[in-house]
Amino acid sequence: MPDQLRMLPSLGFALKFMALFGLLMGAFEAARGSAVERFVVEDLILKPTVAVIDRLAPAELVTLSDRTLISPGSRLHVTRGCEGIEMFLMLGAAILAFPATAKQRLQGLAVGAVIAYVLSLSRLIALHFILRYSPAAWEALHGLILPLGPIVLLAVYFRYWTLSLDRPATARPVHAA
């Protein structure tokens, strides 16, 4: 019986998560090419990435041309799926699909967005240095580890967030009638 009870919310969550991600992703795709999308991808993600690389290793002489990170020894073209937007969309879909109050969701999204942002920038910075100094590792890192690693970390955060929702309820003292 407990299994059966557990099954229904899990199924509901999986279906809601997929549907909400589809909606969020559809909305973002509809905005592709717009000023909003350019601001998010170029001003909020790519320019800070170049600034961080420049700060960490000024000798890299990295510049941003359209959506390509150019240095004397490499050209990293950032395409759809590499800019890290999917992390925000997945986190948003997961938090919206999980039963919680609006305040809890906002808190979860606020903290999660900061984590997703740091992970997005870190991934692009890592990709730049891998392409420049360790191209042999490109396939494994670009194809598998760097797309999945940040998502695993976000999943750990999501798990932590869901557990934090249970705490007040379980910690509540039981009163005799």
Binding site: M1, P2, D3, Q4, R6, M7, L8, S10, L11, F13, A14, L15, F17, M18, F21, G22, M25, G26, F28, E29, T79, R80, G81, I85, E86, M87, L89, M90, A93, P135, A136, W138, E139, A140, L141, H142, G143, L144, I145, P147, L148, G149, I151, V152, V156, R159
Partner: protein, 212 residues
């Protein structure tokens, strides 16, 4: 060991397995993608040549490659296109890694429920592979068809590909694994309930006889 820690170890192991096994996996699955491409490419307009793992264009590793011939369906004798669909083997192994890791980590109370889930997982896995890697391999054929027909707007294949590239691949793999995980639990519980019902039936008969 705490469940969370065990889960993280399984995930780390899966990633290592993915790194080591990406190319052998892509080679092993190539016949499946080939069969899938031939199944989709019905009619004379799409002719699948081969699906195989080859060295990558940029020299940064191997790629799963589909080679095909695309003709204009409205003019089969007119100009045609030689197309090549490519996916890095590291990306090919993403979907199965995510799918099976989620399915294996799904909480199970009995070995039986875990086995039922794994059995249900196989058709789900073939479906998710077709929807992700399979469709991405076929994308250049759809794009070439559109170009030959003079179509400039994005095709549904393009939209689907954008969805997959923007994280949809992970979401599909996780979501389908979640659905199968939940259904596997339901199936096990339903069959356990049926077994309980059957085993309690003679007792019910005895008690009704005693009442008489």
């Amino acid at each position: 060991m705490r469940r969370e820690m065990r889960g993280l170890l399984v995930i780390a192991g899966a990633l290592v397995l993915g790194v080591v096994g990406a190319e052998p996996y892509a080679r092993a699955m190539a016949p499946y993608y080939d069969a899938l491409a031939r199944l989709v490419a019905v009619g004379p307009a799409w002719e699948v040549g081969s699906v195989a793992v080859r060295p990558g264009r940029s020299g940064l590793g191997a790629e799963l490659t589909l080679e095909a011939l695309v003709r204009n369906p409205d003019d089969l004798t007119g100009p045609h296109a030689q197309v090549r669909g490519r996916i890095q083997v590291g990306e090919v192994v993403e979907t199965p890694i995510v799918y099976w890791t989620v399915l294996l980590l799904w909480p199970a109370t009995t070995l039986r429920s875990r086995l039922v889930r794994l059995a249900l997982g196989v058709p789900g896995f073939l479906l998710v592979e077709a929807l992700t890697t399979g469709s991405q391999l076929l994308l250049p054929m759809a794009q070439a068809s559109a170009v030959l027909r003079g179509q400039v707007a994005l095709t549904p294949w393009d939209h689907w590909s954008h969805f997959l590239e923007a994280g949809g691949q992970f979401v599909l793999a996780c979501g389908l694994a979640g659905v199968i995980g939940a259904l596997g639990t339901r199936r096990t519980v339903a069959s356990a309930a049926a077994r309980d019902l059957v085993s309690s039936a003679p007792l019910a008969a005895v008690s009704s006889r005693q009442r008489r």
